[in-house]
């Protein structure tokens, strides 16, 4: 009797998991459709900027080479509390840059004023310098293509930023699908055992 009810509950759970998987697959395809849309829009804006700035002005040649150091502005954090999920840590490319510039300007002014004061300890200034240098590495990628970039370049950046956000969502759906599949396989084995036990 209990074996029968066990078998029933396993079957029900298997059905639930199969439905969940179908939902996730649908979500995955929807997200990919919006990703395709963003990439297409972004590419179109890149093509327009290429038309405005010249063919070789928007190409691989403008990307940083291995000689220069570059820090990613879009990074991920892993959240392992319930299940493995990825979150976009920081994606404030242009905002970060303007803040960094503003703060470095303010620091510059402050330092000039402070020059007259001998009481300021040297070590403190050094400590302030190091994070600033780090910020210099994290510059807006738009600057690789020149100072006055066309509006289309900014629009392309926006589209690709959206694509990055969608990519993180896609990765999370993929992780969810993997966990559903794993659970489904183990339940299938359990079902087999129950069936062979009953016979």
């Amino acid at each position: 009797m209990t074996k029968d009810s066990d078998y029933e509950s396993v079957c029900r759970e298997l059905d639930d998991l199969a439905l969940q998987m179908l939902d996730q697959m649908k979500l995955y395809l929807d997200l990919l459709a919006s990703m395709e849309n963003s990439v297409k829009t972004g590419s179109l804006h890149l093509a327009k900027s290429r038309y405005i700035m010249g063919n070789k002005s928007v190409s691989v040649l403008q990307l940083p080479t291995e000689d220069s150091e570059l820090s990613a502005q879009a990074t991920l954090v892993t959240d392992k509390t319930e299940r493995l999920t990825l979150k976009l840590a920081n994606l404030n490319v242009s905002a970060d840059e303007s803040n960094a510039e503003a703060s470095s300007e303010a620091d510059g002014l402050k330092r000039r004023k402070d020059k007259g004061k001998p009481s300021e300890p040297e070590e403190n200034q050094d400590a302030e310098e190091s994070p600033k240098k780090k910020k210099d590495v994290m510059q807006d990628p738009l600057k690789w293509f020149g100072v006055l970039v066309p509006q289309n370049m900014r629009l392309a950046q926006l589209s690709f930023k959206t694509a990055v956000e969608i990519a993180v969502d896609l990765a999370n759906v993929q992780l969810e699908m993997a966990s559903i599949r794993k659970r489904y396989c183990s339940l299938l084995l359990k079902k087999k055992e129950l069936r062979s036990g009953a016979v």
Partner: protein
């Protein structure tokens, strides 16, 4: 180490054509680390399959990469490598490019998911 990676954050790697790489780097995913290893690879018509495969394997081995974005047409060239990668992290995302629209029937992830509904494949 855990503390260090928590502060630094993990990366998205990109393997794709010129526009895909320029675009995603414009979106802020690019990084070149202290060993001068970039997290992106531009694939053009002169790039060999072996080179793509090598870069893909290097990205998989790197513990600071959590997502690998790869153009679907490039993924087709190294399908055996993608199919053999079964770990959830790094997640491999096959993305469309401007010349090659997305084809769901080629995607390894969806094919694996569809296998769940195929009794023969699940060994039922």
């Amino acid at each position: 180490m855990a503390l260090h990676s928590a502060i630094k954050g993990k990366l998205l790697a990109v393997i794709g054509d010129e526009d895909t790489c320029v675009g995603f780097l414009l979106g802020g995913v690019g990084e070149i680390n202290k060993n001068r290893q970039p997290n992106f690879m531009v694939v053009d018509k002169n790039t060999g399959v072996g080179e793509i495969e090598e870069t893909f394997k290097r990205f998989i081995k790197r513990d600071d990469v959590d997502i690998i974005l790869i153009n679907q047409n490039v993924a087709e060239l190294i399908r055996h490598c993608i199919d053999s990668h079964t770990n959830p992290i790094p997640a491999i995302l096959e993305i469309p490019s401007k010349d090659h629209p997305y084809d769901a029937s080629k995607d390894s992830i969806l094919r694996r998911a569809k296998g769940m509904f195929n009794p023969e494949e699940m060994g039922n």
